[in-house]
């Protein structure tokens, strides 16, 4: 590469980074600016929009519901998907492809289409089981399948589960022990990745909750937006920051975990 072309490339790259950096950072900065705006034009900056979040019982309910849903969906996903994935890899390898296909289907069916199918099912659940917002976890479990499948699949293919399970079985371990005490500890970063994706998807979910008439975090933000824009934008900023910090912490945990294991193995 000659010098002229290298200089041109460097200039081109700087221009791209600056322009796109502005495009992506401005809306986020604007949200913070908007949420801290005073009432009048010249009134000083205030954080009252942030502090008033806690005093709105409806908002607190919505936030609590979303957090509970995130936990329930993560636990449900681990209980349903992980044993199945391990089981089919060990006992019925012919089912690996079909299960993968099932798990990735929700990516190709738009959520808005699924909701149309969920509606009659949820009418039945509402009458016969419960009308609690936590029943949304049934639908969310389907929405997170593709992301969690990929995360867990990456973890499972990095571990030689056949050898591990045969060794454990020959030493007298049952299937439960093989799964929860042998395989899972060997893919802890994949498991935490899957959980993190669950939490991110559930906290950001709007479509299903809105159309099934449940008020979760995002629906509450949207409803609030028509009345009190600065509080709803403050909440949006907070949820964004929360998810971002959460992702950061978990990726940091996962990295330090795998590094420690790498050191132990070496």
């Amino acid at each position: 590469m000659n010098r002229r072309r290298r200089r041109r490339l460097a200039a081109f790259k700087t221009a791209v980074y600056v322009v796109l950096g502005l495009f992506f950072l401005l809306p986020i900065a604007a949200m913070v600016e908007f949420a801290t705006r005073g009432v009048g034009i010249s009134s000083p900056r205030t954080v009252s929009a942030f502090t008033s979040i806690g005093s709105d019982p409806e908002l607190v309910d919505a936030i609590t519901a979303s957090l509970e849903l995130a936990v329930i969906t993560s636990v449900g996903m681990l209980a349903l998907l992980l044993p199945t994935m391990i089981w089919i890899r060990l006992r019925m390898p012919r089912m690996v492809r079909p299960v993968e296909l099932i798990c990735l289907t929700p990516l190709t069916i738009p959520a808005i289409v699924l909701v149309v199918g969920f509606a009659p099912i949820y009418r039945w659940i509402e009458i016969n089981v419960s009308d609690s917002i936590l029943t949304l976890a049934f639908a969310y479990l389907i929405l997170v399948l593709p992301y969690c499948y990929r995360a867990l699949d990456a973890g499972l293919s990095a571990v030689d589960i056949r050898t591990l399970s045969e060794a454990a079985r020959s030493l007298g371990a049952g299937w439960g022990t093989v799964m929860w005490r042998i395989v899972v500890p060997n893919m802890s970063s994949a498991v935490s990745n899957a959980c993190l994706l669950c939490v991110a998807v559930v906290l950001g979910e709007f479509t299903v909750a809105n159309l099934l008439n449940f008020e979760n975090l995002q629906v509450a933000i949207s409803i609030l937006g028509t009345g009190n824009a600065s509080v709803s934008i403050a909440l949006a900023v907070l949820s964004l920051v929360f998810v971002f910090v959460f992702l950061l912490v978990l990726s940091f945990l996962a990295r330090s975990l795998s590094r420690r294991r790498g050191a132990a193995r070496a």
Binding site: I88, V116, L211, S222, G225
Partner: protein
Amino acid sequence: MTAVASTEAELVRRPLGGRLRLSSTWLGAAPFLVYAGAFLLLPTVLVAVGAFSGTHGPTFSNLAQLSQPYIVSAFVNSLVLSAVSASIGAVVGAVLAYAVATGSPDGIMRRLVTALCGVLSQFGGVTLAFAFIATIGTEGFIVIWLRQHGIDFYPNGVWLFSLTGLTLIYTYFQIPLMVIVFMPALDGVRPQWREATETLGGATWHYWRHVAGPLLLPAFLGAWLLLFANAFSAYATAAALLDIGGVIVPLQISRALSSEVGLDQANLAAALALGMVVVVAVITVGYSWLQRRSARWLPR
């Protein structure tokens, strides 16, 4: 005699035992399969059945409804919105991906951009709509700042709350998605190919026109289709941004679904959903075909 009897007994028992063992194996996968049947297969079937059922048994009237002008225009709007936002996202995203790919593979810039793109590509929905309202809404940051300097941001009327605004907002998650999807293809391009072009006397233009361009084209088009499907199925941002319902297909579905009129509207929602599935299915087929084309040259 006894030997014969025992063989017979074995013959009878073996298939039975085999079947029992088989079923215990299936039992391990059963919870998942039952769940997927109830909450994935059943909703899909309900959509398909709903699209063809009316108050008096099976009918095509729901699908016939799709030819009404307001629904046709919703489909046209959806397709245009998806195509335009996918095109802008694909071109700008490819440029950004190129800027990143030509840098150091372990550099801070690359790691930063990849991490940010991972987050921003999922940053959609209500929050994104509000972010743009806070930026270029009528009381937005930029609008107010320009007003203080005597410039009107919206000389021809506010376009944020229309399809134009929606297109701009969609590029916010389309560009990062493009970077993620297109980066592996760019990484597959070898510097030797450029060197070979130069050895043969080719200039930069020749390299892009005859070597890198044709090689990257299938990957680029595949990524474009993915972006298209992504925009086509998006609902939350539009729902939070647009006051008028029914501008795009997802909003039509939500209007039909939440109307109190009754079963007819629910079946219309199913027909609309089926229409969306058909569009997405066509895209998926095209995408997998392009994937196979690009896999020929670019290893992943």
